[in-house]
Amino acid sequence: MSAVVAEHDDHHDHHDHGPAKGLLRWIITTNHKDIGTLYLLFALAMFFVGGAMAMVIRAELFEPGMQFVNPQFFNSMTTMHALVMVFGAVMPAFVGLANWMIPMMIGAPDMALPRMNNMSFWLLVAGVLLLASTLFMEGGAPASGWTLYPPLVLQTGNALPFAIFSVHLLGISSIMGAINIVATIFNMRAPGMTLMKMPMFVWTWLITGFLLIAIMPVFAGAVTMLLTDKFFDTSFFDAAGGGDPVLYQHIFWFFGHPEVYVMILPTFGVASTIIPVFARKPLFGYSSMVYATAAIAFLSFIVWAHHMFTVGMPIAGELYFMYATMLIAIPTGVKVFNWTATMWKGSMTFETPMLFSIAFVVLFTMGGFTGLMMAVAPVDFQYHDTYFIVAHFHYTLVPASVFILMAAGYFWLPKWTGHMYDERIGRLHFWLSVVSVNILFFPQHFLGLAGMPRRIPDYAVQFADWNMISSIGGFIFGASQLLFLYVVIKTIKGGTGEKVTDEVWEDAAKHSLEWTLSSPPPYHSFTTPPKVIPTEHF
């Protein structure tokens, strides 16, 4: 297969399907790999922008007292850090991975809707730039938390309409990206690539695509109501006009809860892709993985008010949302057990992608445990809006989604570039990250339980020690990520000089189709469909 494609690659001058020359290539490209690269690089840049904001937060919280930023700007930082990381870094990074990998994994030449693909990327850039521009507006960037709760968000200065339109752009971009992915998976699979033979990453993205299509319009609707409340005298969320501020929270979390699964389901998919390769075993329980993913996605739509246990719901509501939320532990547990069983009696090696994946399974499970604790409504009356929550969702996002994105980078960079990354630096990056991320977030459990509310710029002195330790962990974690940047740049520029094989990793082609292509793969992935379809049941 790779031989055929390599020949095609060498002779692309006899038709016009190669990339355009120069900078224009990246602006007008409709190629899934180019757009995937753009998404990934943009996400990496935003990871550092959002990370810089986190450094501001941790610097202010290093010691009690106000030292660096005023409280209003501190609130802008927590708000913008979350919005940039969610909409600018994690989601685009997974869309980038989907763009790169899905056509190669299902044996397709490209995405189904290449022009829309280009448009969804550039709308993302426009949306994030619009959002970032609010930092320089009179009254400052939004400072009401990423949840944008009214009435507080309506006190935002000039930034409010810009932030809302930015959410609209980001939403349109996400919906187009999701439609493209779903259309590609349904229409572009190679003959023989049945749904139940697709790699888990493709499956998780198929389900995530439907989640996105369902929820982004809901969020767009919620923020549009904020816009009309502020500028056109409506009272959707204003009790004085017959509205209800809590209505916004219901709408927001109907979007917001599936949204966090948008960030975690593709994470599951990548982990299910990487662990079998390095355990040299098929994924354990492939079909139960598929059903568990679908179950988690379904449950995500019916548990939203567990973010709102303290708003004063009737007891029937509290109990229902508690029971429904606890149910999520079952399919999530199945996944963790399956990954463990995949490693069991394997023949494991511990290259950087595997190290990050193992850390993901362990640390995500810890985030899952605290999630289970918070699901219990009466106990959540204590946990809610404290640092315990901050610790919980950072465990499910940083050493989970972000670690898996790093793992994916190390796993597929050799395929994408044809060069091997520096394993020594990769492992150093891993160990620094895994130690510092725990120094950063583990003490926040103690802070929350001891009574420290979230989103405060200054705190009582009994919280000082753990905050200082957490900040030190934060600075080490932040600095360690520069190693990743270095590895990425070095690998693109030629890596260790070692020429990688098509398979890159031992027997990887048994697991998934991308390893049957050359490294780097041809501009149009599969111009003729692959003849042999690997399955997880080899």
Binding site: G312, H384, I439, A464
Partner: protein
């Protein structure tokens, strides 16, 4: 992975040995001082131990596998990829554990929700950035904001070490006082944005929502001082509106109630006397710093784009009646202070703004005049 755990244990020991004066910090949830808070604590510990137990099982299996089933040890990979029996077992067992957790959780939830048969009621209203307490049974009513010492120390680069301030950011000028061993119903609402009232020792928090009423209850067993904070982001000073609850045994509480009633009478009569401009300015400064400075700043400079300056403000240096009117009824984010401040405080702060903070208009207004206006205007609608 082992290394990581050792390192972490080392860090914990390091932190414990840091030797700061704060010996009272905790690693775990506090038990609190009510039956409900104790039930919640027990539930928390139950789930925590369940998680620890499951964690040891899962991670133990994983680390055993990582240690033994590695290629460098020559372990050959087996190729199994499913086992229906084990998959059914690890679906059913978690389900049973969850049911076991849901039963005590449901009991606690029902107990928390039951505000029936309460012996007294207190209305709590959240403001940016203070709390208003109204005792619905005896008419006692006051505001509670961050104490002055914390407020000075928390200013940017104040030069005051927070460690030198007793109960830094957890102290208020006027705490909420409640009797012990009585079922007290709280009703919650807010005047501007959503806040959330949390005292960890009572075991719960509740959101205060403008235009809506929430309820909760407590019954404190032990006299003491219990501290908490606002837990719903409510704007720039969200971190600076603490809650202090003092629980007193019945006789002490009754004495406090009498004292409050006497103070209210004295306050009302002081509104009738004629105050000199100097007296008003002196009193007005502390009223300003408690009620106005968080937005208009201590020096009256305001915050460009959000909060107008007091110094050289056309309102403050213009017609005095117009300024009084604006302050009585509020405007935009500015609350209607007619309902918040007493007549004396109101007159004092008006006089202070016109004769301090870089202004020198020279006039003043008497508390009696404010009192007449306050009783004439119906409670202003605080939503614009």
């Amino acid at each position: 992975m082992k290394k990581k755990k050792q390192l972490f244990a080392g860090l914990i020991l390091m932190a414990l040995g840091l030797g700061t004066a704060q010996a009272d910090y905790t690693l775990n949830l506090m038990k609190g001082v009510t039956k409900v808070s104790n039930d919640i604590y027990d539930l928390h510990m139950l789930i925590l131990w369940i998680c620890v137990f499951i964690g040891i099982g899962v991670f133990g299996t994983m680390f055993y596998s990582i240690y033994h089933h590695r290629k460098s040890k020559g372990h050959k990979a087996e190729q199994f990829h499913e086992n229906t029996t084990i998959e059914i077992i690890w679906t059913i067992i978690p389900t049973l554990i969850l049911i076991g957790m849901a039963i005590p959780a449901t009991k606690a939830m029902i107990e928390l929700d039951d505000v029936q048969e309460s012996e007294m009621s207190i209305k709590v209203t959240g403001y940016q950035w203070k709390w208003e307490y109204e005792y619905l049974d005896n008419g006692i009513h006051f505001f509670s904001s961050l104490d002055e010492a914390s407020n000075k120390a928390r200013q940017m680069n104040s030069g005051i070490d927070p460690r030198s301030v007793p109960n830094y950011l957890l102290n208020v000028d006027k705490p909420l006082v409640i009797p012990t061993k009585k079922k007290i119903r709280f009703v919650f609402t807010a005047a501007d944005v959503i806040h959330s009232w949390w005292v960890p020792d009572l075991g719960w928090k509740k959101d205060t929502i403008p235009g809506f009423i929430n309820e909760s209850w407590t019954s404190v067993d032990k006299a003491g001082t219990y501290r908490g904070q606002c837990t719903e982001l409510c704007g720039k000073d969200h971190g600076f509106m603490p809650i202090v609850v003092i629980a007193m045994d019945e006789p002490d509480y009754n004495a406090w109630v009498e004292q409050q009633k006497a103070a209210a009478l004295a306050e009302a009569s002081s509104a009738d006397k004629t105050w000199s401009t100097e007296e008003l300015v002196a009193k007005g400064q502390s009223v300003y710093e408690t009620n106005c400075a968080s937005c208009h700043m201590v020096d009256g400079a305001g915050l460009a784009g959000t909060f107008p300056a007091i110094t050289k403000s056309p309102v403050v240096t213009g017609d005095i009646d117009a300024q009084v009117n604006l302050m009585l009824n509020g405007k935009g984010m500015m609350p209607a202070f007619g309902k918040i401040l007493s007549a004396v405080d109101f007159a004092a702060v008006v006089t202070y703004t016109r004769n301090g903070l870089g202004n020198s208009v020279g006039d003043s207004i008497q508390p009696s005049a404010i009192q007449a206006l306050q009783s004439a205007t119906p409670a202003a609608d605080k939503n614009e």
